[in-house]
């Protein structure tokens, strides 16, 4: 049954069938052909999989991100990042990474990060003479930090499906997020030096203090969200609701950049984005229920432990496997289907489930920039107005940087677990 379901899903995905439909068709086929279950289980699971308080953080973080974008918070963050690293050669490119890091700490989605920051920074980079493909690849890659630095939608999904504390995952994301941010900045800085790009990036840069003051309310937001979860004051869902109302207060009450009329487009965008993700979650929830029913996690676990003996081999194999999966399958679907299978095996090999969650998320986040199915890449190409084929040559080194960081995150658990152990 499992192989039928997997093959049906991959075939349908290849035929450009929407992800949620492909997963649902494979599951419905599985129920009808291989089980005694009545089909009503389909309707039941596709409602109960999204009937969860932790998952409600997803629409809220999407809404909060869109409110911040509408309120001009992303522009203020770009100004702030420029004031910090803009003085270097290639400073504009470096500030793209830094802005994404800050924005990521209030947004849980990397596509939202691509649109919010890319719309401002890609045109600026083009005006300063950076190649279009470089700007788009940089934006797509930096925006990955959106799901690695907390809050993060994939972490919520991993936490729910592998039964791991979402708060712990959030805290564990800080280390890897900083590592990737620093590695990207270094790569960008060296490339700009070598190629001679971005010599005039200094122009129009504000001083650090005025820029920090200008962006202070935006910079306070991650403090409230992460701090609240960190201190155990909020659950992630509560933090996401607070983020929505904080963004609303700042945008409407203080900056006065959002009027009542602007709420319509914000709500509309948020409804569509949330519905798309949650529908995939509903279908993937059904899929994962069926394979768990069929005992696949236990069988897969036994098989893996009979083939592989050491934890380092397991981690290597998992990383290669996830990299391939990430190229073709959408991140949330991959996490919901694979986390319940792989997390118990990881625990069997003595890998901390929180650390394993970070490996999965960083690896699958890379899938967002690798063709043929990379949502970040699509978004960045759309913002940068460039075809996918012209981006690839600029993209490869960025992917290699992330692969390097992934290796460090995989084999040095303390990168992820240091902050977690500090708190929990």
């Amino acid at each position: 049954m499992t192989s039928f379901m997997l093959m049906a899903m991959v075939l349908l995905l290849a035929l450009s069938v929407p992800v949620a439909v492909a997963v649902a068709v494979a599951s419905i086929g599985g129920v009808a052909l291989f089980t005694q279950l009545p089909l009503v289980v389909v309707a039941q699971k596709m409602v109960t999989s999204i009937d969860s308080f932790p998952l409600m953080a997803i629409p809220f973080f999407i809404l909060a991100g869109n409110l911040m974008e509408a309120g001009g918070i992303s522009r203020r963050l770009v100004e702030f990042a420029k004031s910090v690293v803009g003085g270097l050669q290639g400073g504009l490119a470096c500030s793209c990474v830094l802005t994404c890091m800050i924005f990521a700490s209030v947004s849980g989605s990397s596509v939202a990060t691509t649109f919010a920051i890319g719309a401002i920074i890609i045109p600026a980079m083009l005006a300063h003479g950076y190649p279009r493909g470089f700007a788009a690849s940089l934006q797509a890659t930096s925006a990955e930090l959106g799901v690695i630095i907390p809050p993060s939608i994939p972490m919520i999904l991993y936490g729910v499906s592998a039964e791991v504390s979402i708060g712990e995952l959030f805290i564990a994301g800080i280390g890897p997020g900083i590592l990737i941010g620093v590695a990207l900045t270094l790569y960008v800085y060296i490339t700009c030096r070598v190629k001679g790009w971005g010599r005039e990036d200094r122009e129009g840069k504000l001083g650090i203090l005025p820029a920090a003051k200008h962006a202070s309310l935006a910079l306070l937001m991650p403090v409230i969200i992460i701090g609240g979860i960190y201190q155990g004051v909020f659950t992630p869902t509560e933090a996401s609701v607070v983020a929505v109302f904080y963004a609303l207060l700042v945008g409407m009450g203080i900056y006065r950049t959002i009027g009542i009329a602007d709420l319509g487009p914000v709500l509309r965008k948020s409804v569509i984005s949330s519905a798309i993700i949650m529908f995939i979650i509903a279908a993937a929830g059904l899929f994962s229920f069926l394979i768990t029913q069929a005992g696949v996690p236990a069988i897969a676990g036994q098989w893996i432990s009979s083939v592989i003996s050491a934890d380092w081999q397991f981690l290597l194999a998992v990383n290669v496997f996830l990299f391939l999966v990430g190229m073709f399958i959408e991140t949330s679907a991959a996490i919901i289907v694979l986390a319940p299978i792989l997390a118990p095996v990881a625990i069997h090999f003595g890998v901390d489930p929180v650390h394993f969650g970070l490996i999965m998320i960083v690896n699958l986040a890379m899938g967002m920039i690798t063709p043929p199915f990379g949502v970040n890449l699509f978004a960045a190409c759309q913002v940068g107005n460039i075809g996918l084929d012209r981006v690839i040559s600029h993209l490869v080194p960025f992917v290699l940087v992330i692969v390097g960081c992934l290796a460090i995150i995989t084999y040095f658990p303390s990168v992820s677990l240091f902050f977690r152990n500090l708190v929990y």
Partner: protein
């Protein structure tokens, strides 16, 4: 006739979207109310979590209908973007067929499911007007309702795509739908 159908379809989709937007706003307020009661009054409300979850399920399924209408669902577009003419039309029909199948299952068995749980009640929530318990059917009805609306959206979208792929010129997606 076609014009009348198209007007009706747009009207339906526009209102589906508006209701979904309202539900998102409502669920934000209800959840915020819950945070406030928990932190400020230290007396968490009993009804807000169930209500917010129910609103979110309705918001999602109504939003899904609009996503089918506008073709916003995520997919791996690599193959379809490289096809033209008849082959593209064939693929559009495959996508239509599989989507329709899933939506029909959701409508048919969703109604079945909603009927089965008719006499189970939601914990902690009562009808504000009569004070009587509410049926869980309210939650489960979201899937068949949204799926039925999605079928309408899917039909409209497929007609547009087919006209486009047989070369009737670029048919613009209803942008004004997005503009509510």
């Amino acid at each position: 006739m076609a014009a009348a159908l198209s007007t009706l379809e747009r009207f339906l989709m526009r209102w589906t979207l508006r209701v979904a937007m309202l539900l998102l706003a409502l669920m934000s307020c209800v959840s915020f109310y819950q945070v406030v009661t928990r932190f400020l009054f230290e007396q968490p409300s009993t009804w807000s979590e169930v209500v917010a979850r129910t609103l979110s399920i309705w918001m999602v399924y109504l939003g899904v209908a609009v996503a089918f209408r506008t073709g916003a669902l995520m997919s791996v577009d690599y193959v379809i973007e490289r096809l033209r003419g008849g082959a593209r039309a064939l693929l559009v029909m495959i996508i239509f067929g599989t989507s329709l199948g899933v939506l029909l299952v959701l409508v048919w068995y969703g109604i079945d499911m909603a009927q089965r749980v008719q006499f189970q009640t939601l914990a902690g929530v009562y009808n504000p007007f009569t004070g009587l318990p509410l049926s869980i059917s309210i939650v489960y009805a979201a899937a068949p309702t949204g799926a039925a609306l999605a079928i309408i959206g899917l039909l409209a979208r497929t007609v547009e795509q087919l006209r486009e792929s047989v070369g009737a010129g670029k048919v613009p997606t209803n942008r004004e739908l997005f503009e509510i």
